[in-house]
């Protein structure tokens, strides 16, 4: 499920409904590979929908064959065309798997949900930048289960980041972090309660519902 960062309450559900409706159309009619993401259709559902889409023409042809339509097109010929198209699609899929990176094949049948994937991304990465982007670029509910772990990690490394100043550790990033994720001395150094804050662009803010 995709909860859009910055949306809460009814807007959160509306945003997810619109997004998933669009994704369903895109998967059914384009097979867009990007939609297999755990926060969109998900790998397993994506593959299932794609395969079902390939089977539908044969089902539709069966109904056409048994219908009482006069002056029908040659059904056998249509069947041959569909078999050729389905076979060529299948061969393309095989060739696609052959030329792509094997390490990512599992994403085509993964049943991981959005929050499971987000937590997994955090846990499996050793790169602080990836970890921080995973936490702060996603809806907060995805990482609620590991919040304490994240706080501990950030408190432990904050001083080091202040000293080494990695490229991602920008004033904008610091402004996007909630007080609880920062060590107390860092919060005070940034101005305490009056420190500059910015969040992941909120749709409420963008629509002018909420003051920035």
């Amino acid at each position: 499920m995709l909860w859009i960062a910055g949306l809460e309450g009814a807007l959160k559900y509306m945003g997810a409904l619109v997004t998933h409706s669009i994704v369903k159309v895109l998967v059914d009619y384009t097979g867009m590979l990007h939609c297999r993401g755990p926060k969109l259709a998900g790998g397993a559902l994506f593959t299932f929908q794609t395969i079902v889409s390939q089977c539908y023409p044969f089902v539709a042809l069966h109904f056409y064959k048994t219908s009482e339509i006069e002056d029908k097109t040659d059904v056998d010929m249509l069947n041959t065309v569909f078999v050729i198209l389905a076979s060529s699609w299948f061969l393309c899929v095989l060739a696609f798997l052959r030329v792509t990176n094997r390490d990512f094949w599992h994403t085509f049948w993964s049943t991981a949900t959005g929050w499971q994937f987000t937590v997994d991304s955090y846990n499996k990465s050793n790169d602080p930048e990836t970890k921080m982007l995973t936490i702060f670029e996603n809806h907060h509910s995805f990482t609620e289960s590991i919040k304490l772990e994240v706080i501990a990690y950030m408190h432990e490394h904050w001083a080091e980041w202040e000293r080494t100043k990695p490229a991602w550790f920008t004033p904008n990033f610091i402004a996007s972090v909630d007080d609880e994720f920062m060590p107390q001395h860092a919060v005070e150094a940034e101005g305490g309660a009056r420190r500059r804050r910015s969040s992941v662009p909120s749709v409420r803010e963008m629509l002018g519902i909420e003051k920035e």
């Binding site: 895109l26 040659d74 389905a86 030329v99 094949w105």
Partner: protein, 415 residues
């Protein structure tokens, strides 16, 4: 390069160890040519020379040669000089430099091109670990893309061309429907185009909300004039950076294209196919409109998936998901072609499915069709679509990139 490295004596001494023949590589990067005409000519001359000398030596062995007074001299062959190790590394450096042009042509973002190029050439590993090489290459890539005669035009033209053509043909189809009395069809198509424009306007407004009213107005004008896809493609290709924007250009382009697919291309294509099949008048124009809609859908879908996966930022942020496309240029090209082909095969069948579903529904509801004989057309349409979609022109990458000569000349003029 001189500006970056030449000032530092330590860097100057270190460079040969990091990558021998760095300048040779850089010259060929800046030449930015996929096909080197001069090199091809030299190779052809060398091959002809070898054949000639082979014939002469064979003739002399067989005793066919008429006079022995002539001295056979093998044609001079342009080639590398110096010791073997140096030559090998130099030719390798030239090959690596030349290969950059193809990465630049087949990748939407300059940084993604640099990343893929570096990963495809293991010899660059040490250079990539320095703090100056990757930023320098990103700047060069941006510059080459901007100065390139074809690369940028190809991207922008393709991005804008397909959408604009789609819109023009849709407008023609609406006119055609109205003229033939099919007002429901015309209004349905207008509603789809209208909803797409409305969604694009909303996305554009949200993206630029923090900017001045004039900027917002300009951006909205791009949407209503249908220039937005071209502008998006230009910004992605040139690595446009905007701190006031909500999304990065790649994400904005992907969301815009996805909305266009979901609100206009897919439903519009299906509606047109349905009306075409059931209509007694089957003009070439209506068929072309359907095919353009199909082409836009297939190509945009493949492009979004491709661009999102090879994006350096995405691979950094979500390494467990992005990265299924390998870094080699050949693999990338094949993967993209297969992505488009997969949709082509599936798309034809899906339209056929819709056609038969709709015909089945008509039959089930016992709705008499005004022109029953027109039901021949699903097959005809599907076959035509299949043939067009299989046409190699759909997935052609124009194999040429020029530009960078100015930089090369500047390099040659260096002290």
């Amino acid at each position: 390069m001189t500006r970056v490295v030449g000032k530092s004596k330590a860097s100057k001494q270190l460079l040969p160890h990091l990558f021998p023949n760095f300048e040779s590589m850089l010259i060929h990067i800046l030449q930015n040519k996929i096909v080197d005409v001069g090199e091809t000519r030299d190779k052809a001359k060398a091959a002809i020379g070898k054949i000639k000398s082979g014939i002469v030596s064979l003739s002399s062995k067989l005793g066919i040669t008429k006079t022995n007074s002539k001295v056979d001299i093998a044609p001079a062959i342009m080639g590398p000089t110096g010791n073997e190790n140096e030559n090998t590394s130099k030719s390798e450096a030239i090959r690596i430099g030349k290969s950059f042009a193809m990465f630049l042509l087949t990748t939407t973002e300059p940084s993604a091109a640099v990343d893929a190029w570096a990963k495809d050439n293991k010899q660059l590993k040490d250079l990539m670990e320095t703090d100056w090489f990757e930023p320098m290459m990103n700047v060069i890539a941006k510059g080459l893309l901007k100065s390139s005669n074809l690369g940028l035009k190809w991207r922008v033209g393709l991005g804008a061309g397909l959408s604009i053509m789609d819109m023009i043909t849709d407008a023609g189809v609406i006119n055609n429907y109205r003229a033939s009395g099919n007002t429901k069809g015309a209004y349905s198509l207008m509603a789809m185009i209208g909803s797409n424009v409305a969604v694009q306007l909303a996305i554009t407004y949200l993206q630029n909300r923090k900017k001045s009213n004039w900027v917002i107005l300009r951006e909205l004008a791009f949407v209503v004039t249908f220039l937005k896809p071209g502008v998006d493609a230009y910004r992605v290709a040139t690595g446009h950076e905007d701190e006031d924007a909500v999304m990065n250009p790649l994400l904005e382009m992907s969301i815009g294209k996805s909305a266009e697919l979901a609100f206009e291309s897919i439903p519009g294509g299906l509606l047109q196919a349905y009306i075409f099949i059931n209509s007694p008048e089957k003009t070439i124009f209506l068929l072309i409109s359907i095919l353009i809609s199909t082409l836009t859908t297939g190509f945009s879908s493949a492009m979004i998936s491709f661009d999102m996966d090879i994006s350096v930022a995405n691979r950094k942020e979500v390494p467990l998901f992005y990265g299924y496309i390998k870094d080699g240029n050949k693999e990338r090209l094949i993967t993209f072609i297969l992505q488009v082909s997969e949709w082509s095969g599936g798309g034809v069948a899906k339209r056929a499915k819709l056609t038969f579903d709709s015909l089945g529904a008509d039959t089930a509801c016992c709705i008499p069709q005004p022109q029953p004989h027109s039901r021949h057309c699903p097959t005809v349409l599907s076959e035509r679509e299949a043939n067009v979609r299989r046409h190699p022109c759909r997935t052609v990458f124009v194999p040429s990139l020029q530009g960078g000569e100015e930089r090369l000349r500047a390099l040659d003029r260096r002290p």
